[in-house]
């Protein structure tokens, strides 16, 4: 789960990583008051869990409290990439001498944490990685010993910041400490700034918590229940039901069991000229009740004009799937072209149920995908 900037900065502050003076505000007046209190120009930042807030106009400067009030009003009545802005972070404007980049991510191939650092921050790191990979320096972390000072010093020297050694070594070690303490997939500051008065300050802060750790990151577990962030309503609903679900832009709803099979089903829809409306993985061993819920989610989705169900039954049982499908159709009363492919455990029983209900089924996923695309007309 992604943390808001203000949440990440609170943690940074707790861990003694310097951040600009700031305050979370819900009303324009609070922004104005804080700007007055500071007595200097401020930055007002929309707290919405989408990437590219700056480019989308969600981060604005204000030289006076009056301007801050106006900016806050505008932001709080706006939407950023479809999400309402409800919270603002007001911060002192930091005088920046140089922008750096620092992040701690997981290197899959090295099976370790890795720091990425650059003497050129504030830019899109993906672009920098593509254009000038030599400007990004890496430090892999020994999983048993953590970051050691001599390694951190090497990284600082590599990005040309030898003159600010102890401050930067502190930030690097703190990032790793944060990462262990809060089970992070990402800890990032972009830019991490050198101020004109020689301090290192995390002007931006991002953190992503490993969803699998929420059983022990209880604070965040509560938060994720309140605000899932960056999810569509349908995604939030489906995830609440316990499905793996992702909204896409097409018209054919895709239900399958297993992530790989569901992706392959989406891809087949596209291969035959259709467009998947979503990814809905019912997982292994789903009961008829769960299958029913999954089908309902597709039927009530106005963008879905047809549904593809693809079941390779192992622990899952075909009879449960068939029953769930029929119940969903009955209960919602919504009729949409639906193609089902179903093989494996209790195949015979499942087929019988479908036959009795007058629903046809197919043998292979390719046939099924081709047929649903034909039925909905390749929209």
């Amino acid at each position: 789960m992604k943390l808001h900037e203000y949440e990440a900065k609170k943690i940074f502050l707790d861990e003694k990583i310097p951040v600009p003076k700031g305050k979370l505000a819900f009303k324009p007046e609070e922004v104005k008051d804080f700007a007055e209190e500071l007595g200097k120009p401020v930055i007002v930042k929309s707290q919405v869990l989408v990437a590219g807030r700056g480019k989308a106009g969600g981060i604005r400067g204000a030289d006076s409290p009056g301007e801050a009030l106006e900016v806050a009003r505008q932001l709080l009545s706006s939407r950023l990439k479809g999400f309402r802005v409800e919270k603002l972070l007001v911060e002192e404007k930091v005088d920046i001498e140089r922008e750096l980049y620092l992040s701690l991510i997981i290197d899959r191939s090295g099976r370790k944490h890795v720091f990425l650092a650059s003497g050129e921050g504030g830019v899109d790191i993906e672009e920098l990685a593509a254009k000038s990979p030599e400007k990004i320096f890496r430090l892999h972390v020994n999983p048993f010993l953590g970051v050691r000072d001599f390694e951190a010093r090497k990284l600082v020297k590599a990005i040309g910041m030898r003159g600010y050694m102890s401050q930067l070594v502190h930030v690097i070690k703190s990032f790793y400490r944060v990462s262990l303490k809060y089970d992070c997939e990402l800890v990032e500051s972009n830019p991490l700034a050198l101020t004109t008065d020689g301090r290192i300050v995390a002007v931006d802060a991002r953190m992503i918590i490993d969803d699998n750790s929420l059983f022990r990151q209880l604070k965040f577990k509560r938060r994720i229940e309140e605000e899932r962030g960056e999810l569509t309503e349908l995604e939030a609903q489906a995830i609440k039901e316990g499905f793996s679900y992702v909204d896409l832009e097409g018209s054919i709803g895709v239900i399958a069991n297993g992530a790989g099979l569901t992706m392959a089903s989406m891809d087949l829809v596209a291969f035959y000229g259709g467009k998947p409306a979503n990814f809905l993985d019912i997982g292994g061993g789903a009961s008829s009740e769960r299958v029913k819920k999954a089908v309902e989610l597709q039927l009530i989705n106005p963008r879905v004009v047809g549904v593809l169900i693809n079941i390779m039954a192992g622990i899952t049982r075909c009879d449960e799937v068939a029953r769930g499908l029929i119940e969903a159709m009955k209960e919602t009363g919504i009729e949409k072209p639906t193609v089902i492919r179903m093989v494996g455990t209790r195949e015979k029983e499942g087929r019988k149920i479908l036959e009795e209900a007058g629903i046809s089924y197919l043998e292979t996923m390719e046939e099924a995908a081709e047929k649903i695309v034909k039925l909905v007309g390749g929209m």
Partner: protein, 292 residues
């Protein structure tokens, strides 16, 4: 021969008294897997499908010193401890079915196992099967048949799907391995492909990849340097997946501009691997190469 597991594999099931552990112990026994013991702390003394349950691996080893592999069905928050227990008993492979293990834990126990030269399959995986000899996993047995194709995959059901098509084409499998859908796994494609290359029984190799990370690209660049010694075919799932979204598996996410399907398909093709557009093409792509 097969890789990782065969008739000599003597298994302890960790978490044998749980719902999944119990259920799949039954299926594995049916398949002929030599399950010598189960372990669930505090449940020592029970039997599950006739298999004696112990409080610890040590106690199981006292009675059955020939145990050399483990399969783990322990819930995520206790799974690390089970893995360490298996590691300290030098079991290999350790097949870790459990999903939702925090990555911080995985990083640590996987590095530790590698340090000790032991193989972890998973986490978040369907397991391993050497058809006709040994099954250490949760896959539906009926789609597999003993044969000469080695299959390695990041996925579960999609693997069964493709194994089924291989079986129906009359080819069969030497060993099928689901390495797991997490970002960090005990084994990677390069390692498993190398095992298949060294295995005499394996005549062809199938790689089933998906979006996220660069494991497929790394395999491709490895193959480009070392050449393709056995017929190979690949399928990559997730061509229509959007960036920034996790597609079910913790590891299946396109992030920071990396991990898209196109890059993987291109890298593999560039290395000379036949890449299927749709799963059902896999058997034909293999046959085409085997005939040559």
């Amino acid at each position: 021969m097969a890789i990782l597991i065969d008739e000599e594999t003597k298994v302890v099931v960790q978490g044998i008294t749980g719902r999944e552990g119990d259920f799949h112990t039954g299926l594995m026994l049916q398949y002929g897997t030599k399950i010598m013991a189960g372990v669930t702390p505090g449940k020592g003394g029970l039997k599950v499908h006739g298999v004696p349950v112990y409080d610890s691996i040590d106690e199981a080893l006292e009675v059955n010193p020939e145990i050399n592999a483990s399969i783990i069905f322990v819930p995520a928050r206790f799974a690390s401890d089970a893995v360490y227990e298996a590691i300290e008993s030098n079991l290999s492979p350790i097949v870790l079915i459990t999903e939702h293990i925090p990555i911080l834990d995985s990083i640590r126990f996987i590095n530790y196992a590698r340090l000790k030269g032991l193989k972890i399959v998973g986490p978040n995986c369907p397991g391993v099967i050497s058809p006709g000899r040994c099954k250490l996993g949760v896959m539906p047995s009926r789609v597999f048949k003993r044969g000469e194709v080695g299959v390695v995959s990041r996925s579960g059901t999609l693997t069964y799907e493709i194994a089924d098509s291989i079986t129906k084409a009359g080819l069969g499998q030497s060993t099928c391995i689901g390495i797991g859908g997490d970002p960090v796994t005990g084994l990677d494609f390069i390692e498993v492909v190398n095992m298949f290359l060294e295995d005499e029984e394996t005549k062809a190799i199938v790689i089933i990849g998906e979006i996220g990370g660069d494991m497929e690209e790394r395999l491709a660049s490895y193959l480009k340097r070392h050449g393709i010694e056995k017929p190979m075919a690949a399928y990559i799932a997730g061509k229509t997946a959007p960036p920034g979204k996790r597609m079910g598996h913790a590891g299946a996410i396109i992030s920071m501009g990396l991990g898209g399907a196109e890059s993987k398909v291109n890298a593999l093709r560039d290395a000379g691997v036949e890449v299927a557009q749709i799963p059902s093409q896999i058997p034909r792509l293999l046959e085409k190469q085997i005939e040559k």
